[in-house]
């Protein structure tokens, strides 16, 4: 039996799409600063990137609060259970029309691979971007009508880390965009993140004890 489930709550969808927009915008302006192309013009790219970065950090603060106040953080704790099955599914099962090895429910929205990837994103890559970005930003800062600075030997390391992280974020977005087409239908996952609702199978009997 299928049932319609309200799986992504309003704040979660708001967070997801705002973050999607901000990351794409940060990547776009960031790589203009990086010298990869010219669109807004360097000065505007910097101002926009900084503004979007501040917005992103505000969003992150709210979202951390949301994760803990709703207990949703538990969804992102990595697990090794079923990980092999999930890998096999992506590599082979999917082409044989095998069923998804891990059952999706409101309480467990993510399969083990998603858990690992999103967990890394939350605790490694986004913090990497934020920390290197904030250092980049406040390496010099105004102070009492003058300019002060933190004691850092130039931007080389910070910029290398920030750019490295940026490439990883982009690779993530590319793969993410593809993987959301692997739901029950091509648009199932997109639809769910837009409307909040997804049709989920009833839980298999053997897990109902």
């Amino acid at each position: 039996m299928k049932r319609k489930v309200y799986i992504y709550k309003a704040y979660e969808r708001f967070w997801h799409w705002t973050q999607a927009f901000l990351v794409l915008f940060l990547a776009f302006t960031g790589f203009e600063i990086h010298g990869s192309f010219e669109f807004f013009g360097f000065e505007h790219a910097v101002v926009y990137h900084n503004a979007a970065a501040v917005s992103f950090m505000i969003l992150i603060v709210f979202t951390i609060f949301w994760h803990f106040s709703t207990g949703e953080w538990k969804q992102y704790v990595p697990t090794t259970k079923n990980i092999k099955a999930q890998v096999q599914y992506y590599l082979f099962g999917m082409f044989k029309n095998a069923p998804h090895p891990v059952h999706k429910t409101e309480l467990s929205k993510l399969n083990p691979l998603q858990r690992i990837v999103y967990f890394l994103l939350k605790v490694v890559f986004i913090p990497l971007m934020v920390i290197s970005g904030v250092l980049y930003m406040f390496y010099r800062y105004p102070h009492n009508g003058d300019i002060a600075g933190i004691n850092m030997e130039g931007l080389s390391t910070v910029a290398a880390l920030h750019t490295l992280g940026a490439f990883i974020m982009i690779a993530f977005v590319i793969v993410h965009l593809y993987l959301i087409t692997t739901g029950t239908t091509v648009f199932t996952n997109l639809k769910a993140m837009l409307t909040g609702y997804e049709e989920l199978e009833d839980e298999p009997k053997q897990t109902k004890q």
Binding site: R13, F14, W17, T18, F21, L22, I33, H34, G35, G41, F42, E43, V46, V47, Y48, N50, A51, A52, A53, V54, S55, I58, L59, Y90, M94, F95, K96, N97, R140, Y141, P142, G145, D146, I147, E153, G154, L155, S156, A159, A160, T163, L164, A166, F167, I168, I170, A171, I174, V175, Y178, T181, T182, T184, T185, V186, F187, L190, K191, L194, T195
Partner: protein, 549 residues
């Protein structure tokens, strides 16, 4: 690419339905919220620091004309007939009794100063004992060069620096515009000058007073500095926002304030220490920009770097000087050649020149200290010899990026003794070894080196030299200041300043390689995976069709 449970039609239908739903309803709300967040971010970053008012106040206060407190025509002592310029000075000193001692303590009088120079210690340094790469040095050429000395009669090493009456008050304080010094007259006024008229019309130094020497260094207008020339007596804001006749029309001494005749500000062609300097921030403050990120640049970038995009804006300045071609004669006579703008490109006396107009500066790190080629220094000729060295690097907290004019020359060198040669250039008569009379490098080198007490082996050659002239004037209107891209790009103005990471110019090869590979591999992985999915999907469709049949 739709899954088996839908056929193509429903698939398209669902897609359209949700695109519509998304665009018409959700995106509206989402966009409003995103915008709110973005706007708050932008506001955070563009906090205005009411700098416009500050600039206006400065403009007002500096465009007020100066009213002198006395009228010198009323002083009887200035009415008498002056037989020599020294008598004028004596008259000045009869009222301004202590000023003579002050002047005698300044660089304008001594042409050198005791300064601490790293690697040399406490050193008396100035035009008396350094060489440059224009007319090289004053030693033996005092009658000509010392026309710009603030004194009368420094014709050779016997000049009396302790006689107050030798001070030339008029060259700086003449307000008639009629005072000038005799060519080759060792600083004495031209005999045609009406000393009585000048003496009764003295006042605060005007642009023309400072410019009388500082515009014409090197033997012609704008030859040396590139950012100081007689066009600035009457120019538009495009040439110089401070000195513009149609702008606030500032005098040199408005910025170069003076205490006990010591004038603030210094030129590193002759100075070495980070003292008594003038800076833009003394009037404009340390954070004059609206954007904080621009203010933050001032830690490492001097104001001049962005605000003097080009120099020699009105008239050309000398960029290179090749002494080695001098001394050619036509029918036994010296000759000259000119370019289309009337600048000398060749003189038998001096050699070959190139000129530049609207020149983009070069950029160096500078911490306010410098070194100079001094008499007797031995040099390394494997690279161009720096006649002055501006010190600093990225890691030096006192250093900033400054714009400079680099003047390059090819000049006399003694390969046996390893020293730069001071040739004797000027004399009133032939046969005394002066290059400008006898056109003989060897004789000029021998006479010049003997005069300054340095050995000369009898062999001369020519070596490449450079001198560095920090640019401080000809500040452009703010709309013309450099845009970010001028430096934050691969082939920008800072392409040669490589000791630090500059965003937009620099990339880490490893990071780029890793990044491009991960993106390409992502796409390849997706392509393989997607094609396998499509194939599986098609196979299933044909399978289910065969089952149906």
């Amino acid at each position: 690419m739709c899954d088996k449970s839908y056929n193509k039609k429903t698939c398209k239908h669902v897609f359209l339905q949700y695109t519509y739903y998304f665009f018409m309803k959700k995106i509206f709300i989402i966009l409003i919220i995103i915008n709110a967040i973005l706007v708050s971010g932008i506001i955070y970053f563009t906090k205005h620091q009411k700098q416009v008012d500050a600039l206006q106040l400065l403009q007002e206060s500096y465009s007020k004309p100066h009213t002198p407190s006395v009228d010198h025509t009323k002083f009887e002592i200035l009415q008498k007939k002056f037989n020599s310029p020294q008598e004028v000075t004596a008259a000045c000193l009869s009222c301004h009794t202590e000023r003579g001692k002050e002047v005698m303590n300044t660089r304008h009088w001594k042409w050198q100063n005791e300064e601490y120079i790293e690697g040399r210690g406490l050193t008396n340094l100035g035009k008396k004992n350094i060489l440059n790469n224009f007319c090289i040095g004053i030693g033996g050429n005092e009658q000509s060069c010392n026309r710009c000395h603030a004194g009368f009669g420094w014709a050779d090493s016997t000049f009396d620096f302790h006689n107050q009456h030798n001070i030339d008050c008029m060259v700086c304080h003449d307000n008639t515009g009629e005072y000038f010094k005799q060519s080759g007259g060792a600083g004495n006024p031209d005999p045609s000058v009406n000393l009585n008229k000048v003496a009764t019309q003295v006042g605060k130094p005007l642009k023309a007073n400072c410019g009388y020497c500082h515009f014409y260094g090197g033997g012609g207008n704008n030859v040396k500095h590139g950012d100081l020339e007689d066009a600035q007596l009457n120019c538009s804001r495009d040439v110089d926002v401070h000195m513009a006749k149609t702008g606030i029309n500032m005098e040199c001494v408005d910025c170069h304030t003076t205490e006990k005749h010591v004038i603030s500000g210094k030129m590193y062609s002759v100075s070495s220490t980070n003292t008594n300097r003038l800076s833009c921030t003394q009037c404009h403050g340390n954070t004059p920009h609206e954007l904080s990120i621009i203010n933050e640049h001032t830690v490492k970038v001097a104001c001049q770097t962005c605000h003097i995009p080009t120099y020699a804006k009105a008239n050309a300045t000398k960029m290179t000087w090749d002494w080695s071609t001098a001394c050619k004669l036509k029918n036994g006579e010296p000759y000259h050649e000119e370019d289309s703008l009337g600048n000398h490109t060749y003189l038998s006396e001096k050699g070959t020149f190139t000129w530049g107009k609207d020149v983009k500066p070069e950029y160096v790190w500078f911490n306010g200290t410098a070194d100079h080629y001094m008499f007797g220094d031995k040099v390394d000729t494997t690279k161009p010899i720096a006649m002055n060295t501006l010190r600093g690097s990225y890691n030096d907290p006192a250093a900033q990026i400054v714009p400079v004019k680099v003047h390059r020359a090819n000049q006399l060198f003694d390969p046996v003794n390893g020293r730069m040669i001071q040739p004797k250039l000027f004399d009133k008569e032939k046969g005394k070894g002066a290059l400008w009379k006898d056109f003989d490098f060897d004789a000029a080198s021998a006479a010049g080196m003997k005069y300054i007490g340095q050995p000369y082996s009898g062999t001369y050659t020519f070596v490449q030299t450079e001198s560095f002239w920090p640019l401080n004037h000809q500040v452009a209107p703010k709309e013309q200041s450099l845009s970010c891209k001028e430096c934050h790009s691969t082939n920008g103005r800072l392409a040669n300043l490589n000791d630090f990471y500059l965003p937009g110019r620099d990339q880490h090869a490893g990071v780029e390689l890793f990044g491009m590979l991960s993106i390409i591999l992502s796409f390849i992985g997706i392509a393989i995976h997607a094609s396998l999915r499509i194939r599986a999907h098609k196979r299933q469709q044909t399978e289910s069709k065969t089952i149906e049949q």
